[in-house]
């Protein structure tokens, strides 16, 4: 545990160190609480970076169909599809772990079950990720996805 805590010392926010004596550090010693917090922060920052890029590509709408479609065609490339997989995994984790955080916040017994809930978050993330990943990566390998026709 000490090794993990030392390895990830840089990920611990400096402002927390002041409050060590208050016991708020108890979740940051290399256990599930630390990992869930670290993944939540990294996925949040990654999603935010994507959101800013996405707002720029959406703003191409007002430059007409040719410019916008040129931008959208990038999303169909293999590299951006792989980045999309990371985005989808990050969004699913951030969403499920967000629910876990709210349960800890608002349910008096929540903290007692946080470890079990973290395991549930990881399982739900993987279970929801796999079918979505099939649709995202399928077109690269010619797998049937049936989503190349018109929708809303």
């Amino acid at each position: 545990m000490g090794i993990f805590a030392g390895t990830f010392y840089i990920f611990r926010p400096v402002s927390r160190l002041k409050y060590r004596s208050l016991g708020s550090e108890i979740m940051y010693k290399g256990q599930s609480g630390m990992w869930s917090w670290l993944f939540h922060r990294i996925s949040g920052l990654g999603i935010l970076l994507f959101l800013l890029i996405h707002l720029v590509d959406i703003s191409l709408l007002n430059f007409g169909p040719n410019v916008y479609n040129e931008g959208i065609s990038l999303f169909g490339t293999v590299i951006v599809r792989i980045i999309s997989l990371a985005l989808i995994g990050g969004v699913l984790y951030h969403a499920f772990n967000g629910v876990r955080i709210m349960i800890i916040d608002f349910w008096p017994k929540g903290a007692r079950y946080q470890g079990m809930m973290f395991a549930t978050v990881m399982v739900l993330t993987i279970v929801c990720f796999l079918p979505m990943a099939y649709y995202v990566i399928g077109p690269v390998f010619g797998w049937p996805t049936g989503n190349m026709v018109g929708g809303i």
Partner: protein, 136 residues
């Protein structure tokens, strides 16, 4: 200085950090639905290469989708940039850098909010323009 961690016990005493703490959670509940439906619509039921100008035109002829996307834009941007504000608070100790980065954070939030909002409002929906799917 009171610092919201966005995690753990809620900041007491009212004020902006308490508002921020509740905003994270209220926006999160809405975003879980808004974002996951958005992902399903644009990556599962329709492949991303088919989210072309034509598809956007069809969607935006219905004001519901403009409102949906505006809510998604506003809540996701404020939730995310508020998260970045807390990350900056956590790691940046120098007063000068904090001021610089937090000002940049606020300015970027405004610029991206306006960029998205103006795009959503001014887009003229024209159906049957260009290909349905865009594949290189």
């Amino acid at each position: 200085m009171r610092i919201s961690t966005g995690y753990g016990s809620r900041p007491a005493g009212g004020g902006f950090e308490t508002f921020s703490w509740y905003f994270f959670r209220v926006s999160a509940v809405a975003l879980i639905f808004l974002v996951i439906i958005h992902l399903l619509l644009n990556h599962v039921t329709t492949d991303v290469s088919c989210t072309s100008y034509q598809l956007v035109s069809i969607r935006y002829s219905n004001p519901f989708w403009r409102l949906y996307d505006w809510l998604l834009l506003t809540l996701a941007l404020l939730h995310g940039m508020n998260g970045l504000r807390i990350v900056i608070d956590d790691y940046v100790r120098s007063r000068g850098w904090r001021l610089t980065l937090q000002s940049a954070n606020g300015l970027l939030t405004l610029v991206f909010f306006l960029l998205g909002t103006i795009t959503l409002i001014t887009f003229q929906a024209v159906a049957n323009v260009g290909p349905h799917c865009v594949i290189h």
